[in-house]
């Protein structure tokens, strides 16, 4: 009897705990999910008085929402290309080569994670302004390449370091040049890490606000900048629709790349 009562108590506790965790973690997104369909919503009704698909249709219709999403996608894809292409050789050097002033180089490439980045973006916007790169997509791509480089670099470095040195030496021993060793042994074995790095850069660039805002706005608006403008102007529906669209890839890819990432490698970003 007492055993059963105890287990019922335990079950109730667990249900309450699950409910609280769900409310804390998922709760915030319930609100914006409902807002994205709301036409009229007044307190104290728990759900909107009138629902509509109008705001969602903007995602698929020619207009500023679709434009901003396409712009963000373009920037993200270009950033992935540049960031990964630059990170791969540097990561290989950090993993395998003796480097001049190695400690200083390590410090330099870790610094963006250890210090606030906002002042850098603000001043970068100022520099770009003088060069005519403000309000230009390439300005944002450059800023994103720089900022994402420090984490794509460390993700790929960790992957290269995890490949046993003997696998490369065995190929070298059989007559392969270092170049050939890299392309036939190291790179194929490092592909999972490179993909993880690329996905992470993509997700980060899609959601990045600071650089896109200071360099792009008000001339061009990426999806997050448009979201901010909409939210600040109390256009909750548009803001919520963009927020949900931007969230989907984050949630999907989390399960793909999560096992490759140590928190330290992705740290220091955000906004």
């Amino acid at each position: 009897m007492s055993v059963r009562r105890f287990s019922i108590l335990k079950l109730t506790l667990k249900v309450v705990l699950v409910f609280i965790i769900l409310m804390l973690v998922v709760g915030p997104f319930v609100g914006i999910a409902i807002w994205s369909f709301a036409r009229v919503w007044y307190w104290p009704s728990p759900i909107p008085q009138e629902l509509t698909l109008r705001y969602w249709s903007e995602v698929f219709r020619q207009g500023r929402v679709l434009d901003s999403l396409i712009l963000s996608l373009k920037i993200a894809l270009l950033t992935v290309g540049f960031s990964i292409a630059i990170a791969i050789p540097a990561a290989y050097a950090f993993a395998r080569y003796r480097l001049p002033a190695e400690r200083i180089l390590l410090f330099l490439f870790l610094m963006p994670q250890a210090f606030p980045q906002l002042p850098v973006f603000i001043n970068l916007a100022r520099i770009f302004g003088k060069m005519g790169l403000r309000g230009n997509m390439w300005g944002i791509v450059m800023a994103h390449t720089m900022a994402s480089l420090v984490f794509s670099l460390w993700i790929i470095t960790a992957t290269f370091k995890s490949i046993p040195l003997e696998l490369e030496q065995a190929a070298q021993n059989l007559g392969a040049s270092r170049w050939r060793v890299f392309w036939t042994i190291t790179f194929p074995l490092g592909i999972p890490g490179v993909i993880a790095g690329a996905i992470h850069v993509f997700l980060w660039s899609m959601g990045e606000f600071n650089a896109a805002f200071f360099i792009g706005a008000p001339f061009i608006q990426t999806a997050p900048v448009l979201m901010y403008t909409a939210s600040a102007g109390y256009n909750m529906q548009i803001a919520s629709v963009i927020a949900i669209v931007l969230m989907i890839p984050s949630l999907l890819f989390m399960f793909v790349i999560e096992r490759f990432l140590k928190a330290e490698y992705i740290a220091g970003i955000g906004g």
């Binding site: 046993p164 003997e166 696998l167 030496q169 065995a170 190929a171 070298q172 021993n173 059989l174 007559g175 392969a176 040049s177 270092r178 050939r180 036939t184 042994i185 194929p188 074995l189």
Partner: protein, 342 residues
């Protein structure tokens, strides 16, 4: 013809001398085993011949060509890695074909050679498997196939049997030796297992603290060790520290001026018998009296701890006979089975 010649190789890691003036030679078709405890520098020697170690001094010649400053890929020596280092993203066939592709052989030629070597090593049926689908013994053969298929000037084997089970290891020893002899390929073989070296090598080099202490045929190393270290490292031994007077009483010539002597007894060759049993003995054989103070049953044999009367020390000897605790016994050590060092 001399295939490998090293002259005075030196390599320091801080204060540690990994290689201290190391010179060895390997003839065509010869198998030289380098033995020594871990940290003796034997692996450093192997890796510097492969080109993976930046030397602090000395020269390496392969077939008369100075390769000291050549990168690993230009030396034409093939190395077998202790953990096999098979590439997990390639099949067995691709692993073995890699060196041939690098050498720009035609597709047909590569196929022909790889198939030959896989069949030679009895692993032809595994060609399309990935390394992760192979057993340890199979992986070992693939690694060997990958090394010999490129017909290197010199084969470097780094502890090739250490990752196998003890039982398989014994069988593979013979196979490995007969295969290397069939290929007639000069081989540098590094191992910490002296018994393996004795059974497999044409010549043996014993290393300690970065120095080569003795080079010679297995029989010579076993029978005529030049110093205490070599004597003790090769074979199963007991080392007895003794005063010169005690040793002199046993009828052995003692070097002048020594304060304490080390007597190395090949325990695997010593014979244990009952006290007062009639024993045939030449003047150079050593006959010691003792008492059984411990015994350990091993199955076919029993391991006895014998307290020696004359030398005031204990030694361990295996015997098939049955002795009781505290029973007085005699230990016969034939000439050539014991060594005395100052």
């Amino acid at each position: 013809m001399v295939v490998l010649k090293t002259e005075g190789l030196k390599k320091y890691y801080g204060d540690v001398k990994a290689l201290d003036d190391v010179s060895v030679e390997i003839e065509e078709g010869e198998l030289l085993a380098v033995i020594g405890p871990s940290g003796s520098g034997k692996t450093t020697l192997l890796r510097s011949v492969a080109g993976f170690v930046q030397l602090d001094g000395g020269k390496i010649y392969i077939r008369g060509r100075d390769v000291t400053d050549l990168p690993p890929e230009k030396r034409n020596v093939a190395m077998f890695f202790q953990n096999y280092a098979l590439w997990p993203h390639m099949t067995v066939f691709e692993n073995v074909a890699y060196g041939l592709k690098v050498r720009k052989l035609s597709k047909e030629k590569i196929r022909e050679k790889v198939e030959w070597v896989l069949n030679f090593l009895d692993i032809g049926h595994l060609a399309n498997r990935k390394p992760s689908q192979l057993s340890g013994g199979q992986q070992q053969r693939v690694a060997l196939a990958r090394a010999i298929v490129v017909e290197p000037d010199l084969l470097l084997l780094d502890e090739p049997l250490s990752n196998l089970d003890a039982k398989i290891r014994m069988r593979i020893r013979f196979e490995l030796r007969s295969m290397l002899k069939k290929l007639n390929i000069a081989t540098l073989y590094v191992t910490h297992d002296q018994e393996e070296a004795l059974s497999i090598a044409d010549r043996i080099a014993v290393m300690s603290n970065g120095k080569i202490l003795q080079v010679g045929e297995p029989r010579e190393i076993y029978r005529k060790p030049v110093n205490l270290f070599v004597a003790d490292f090769v074979g199963v031994n007991c080392v007895v520290r003794a005063r010169p007077e005690a040793v002199r009483k046993l009828g052995i010539a003692v070097p002048e001026g020594a304060e304490e002597l080390s007597l190395v007894i090949r325990a695997e060759e010593a014979v244990l018998s009952r006290y007062n049993a009639s024993i045939e003995k030449t003047p150079h054989d050593l006959l010691l009296n003792g008492v059984i103070v411990g015994r350990l049953y091993l199955g076919a044999k029993t391991r006895y701890e014998v307290k020696l009367q004359e030398l005031d020390d204990n030694i361990f000897i295996n015997s098939e006979e049955d002795f009781q605790l505290n029973e007085p016994v005699q230990v016969l050590v034939k000439e050539g089975s014991y060594f005395l060092y100052a």
